[in-house]
Symmetry: C2
Subunit: 335 residues, 2 copies
DNA sequence: CTGAAAGCGCTAACAA
DNA sequence: TTGTTAGCGCTTTCAG
């Protein structure tokens, strides 16, 4: 029993065939006779051989992995997208490398690094704040965006963010609200802008008032949602219903409102965005816009694999539908 | 301008040196003269050369990546551990491959696969339900467990799970509770068992009653926490304070209690485990046992890198302290 | 259907 | 300090 791991040479020797035949048997079994196939497979079993992926990759001029670039791994929002990606990449024998653009100093530089490094056969971008110029890299691998991105023409999988904002406003209006506010994500984020646009357009279409004081700035976190709740309380002229651009913010908002002794939806109605798991477990349940994150990951991975396998840098983008989920956090306005 | 990416040969030609010198310049710049260094570096810039990691890895008999094996990527609990791992692995130039043991049919087989495949220089295990025999693999790379694991002697980074259970019980007892219950994780999980043991031992030490009906089975999810709340309501003889083995369950529990029109902590006190982000945003805030997840990831990665670099399969394990975080969800018992 | 042989791009002895 | 050389382990023509 060697302690070193067996190589294809060892298998060839044991099976009494050439290394080429071993390689063939393993990659296209149909092309060798049953006799040699049996000999090779039993030699493989005997030696405990496993192909050395590094060598195989070098020879085949590929890497066997895909890099997923996201702004912040610690954000649970991405966890389900990763699960979707993994469920496609793993069976296809691609490794999934995770890289965090916020952990280093310069996110754009990191992206440029990954583009040029040739360390992956493809890239999935989940960060909508990277600058477009970086993509100029001539030898870059196929890329799929799984998020909105300013003025990019890259293949992408996106959700109907604007329509989500409109659905939220429509629901609040239907319940009788006429003073509808919004808590945004970070201002430079494209999601923020798209959802805000959907919100504003819907108000306009419904002939409802647009009050800039009712549009509060957040950053998608629970903390910023709680801060928005305090900011709203400080207003003399308050919106009765709010659309928040993420469920995390909505959660922080509701918590803070309740701690202030007020009632949701009695005093203020809340609609979130995402439908994260906790939405149905809050009291009241959080009315929100569902965005199917696992499916986003699945479709992005499928798109990318198609591009990799067809050696193309382009593919049709895809838009995934959102849906209003009615729970208890939005009700008729007070009075 | 070639469309193919430049190789070390191209750089050598442009700089008028050998490939060995190029390689040296890039890996140990100190060992070449300034003149050649300058020549090489400008040739690198001119050609846009980047080392081919696959070739480098093949030559150096390493893979440059670490596999992180976790039960379920979609579980946000792991997100912060991943962030900690990434913050150490990325600067050290190791790729972080994520693999999900629950996405395939047989988790043990997956582990065995990764152990033998030689696709990684090291492994981080976050799944405490894998069977120990699989580790028999002779040529396996260094492994660090970042979770409890039955009867394993592998190097590990763990938290004081039993003490966490004891802290929770101690706190409830201090507030005056004498009827203290517990909601467990999945029964076969070692975390479940350790926290349950800490819970039971603490009750015994304090001379408090142990009622099997007050120990409800959960599975760490919010859904199971909500179910536990309903199960508690169905009891005629109810515990006044509960320790739940995860914050997610505690969140689901509190939501369900509130939807039933009861008050936390007025009617029932709740202590969770983890200190996930939402804990401070619930109303009331969730009293819980803090477990520093980023730090777990950081230490696990550091341990693993040490082992990889010293080519050792062993290292001292580490225990990370937990801490009671007092918020509003635990108060004096009713009456 | 199978084997021989030529590298993929890089690094590390070893020599000079 | 630098160059020469020999592979790392694999796949894939190209012959046979």
């Amino acid at each position: 029993m060697d302690r070193r791991t067996a190589t294809i040479q060892d298998v060839a020797r044991v099976a009494g065939v050439s290394t080429a035949t071993v390689s063939r048997t393993l990659s296209k079994p149909a092309v060798v006779t049953k006799a040699t196939r049996d000999a090779v497979l039993s030699a493989v079993a005997e030696t405990g051989y496993r192909v050395n992926t590094t060598a195989s990759n070098l020879r085949r001029q590929r890497t066997g992995s895909v890099i997923v670039l996201l702004p912040n791994i610690a954000n649970p929002f991405f966890a389900q997208i990763l699960a979707g990606l993994s469920s496609v990449l793993t069976p296809a024998e691609y490794g999934m490398l995770i890289a965090d653009t916020q952990s280093g100093p310069d996110a754009d530089a990191r992206l440029a690094h990954y583009l040029a490094s040739g360390q992956a056969d493809g890239l999935v971008l989940l960060d909508g704040t990277l600058s477009a110029e970086v993509l100029a890299s001539p030898a870059r691998p196929p890329i799929v965006m799984a998020c909105e991105w300013m003025g990019s023409t890259l293949p992408s999988v996106r959700v109907e963010n604007a329509r989500g904002g409109a659905l939220a406003v429509g629901h609040l209006a239907e319940l009788g609200h006429r003073r509808i506010g919004h808590v945004t994500g970070p201002p430079d984020n494209v999601l923020t802008q798209t959802r805000l646009a959907g919100f504003s357009d819907a108000l306009r279409a419904l002939g409802l008032p647009q009050n800039p004081a009712w549009v509060l700035e957040g950053d998608f976190t629970m903390d910023s949602g709680a801060a928005a709740a305090r900011a709203r309380l400080a207003l003399t002229d308050r919106p009765t219903g709010l659309f928040l651009s993420s469920d995390e913010m909505a959660t922080g908002f509701i918590g803070e409102v309740q701690r202030a002794g007020l009632n949701v939806p009695g005093d203020v109605s809340v609609v979130g965005f995402d439908n994260i798991e906790i939405a149905q477990h809050l009291a009241p349940g959080l009315t929100t816009i569902r965005q199917p994150r696992t499916q986003i990951g699945v479709r992005a991975a499928e798109l990318l694999l198609t591009m990799i396998e067809s050696n193309s840098r382009d593919a049709p983008s895809e838009i995934i539908a959102v849906e209003l989920i009615r729970r208890g956090s939005a009700g008729p306005p007070p009075g």
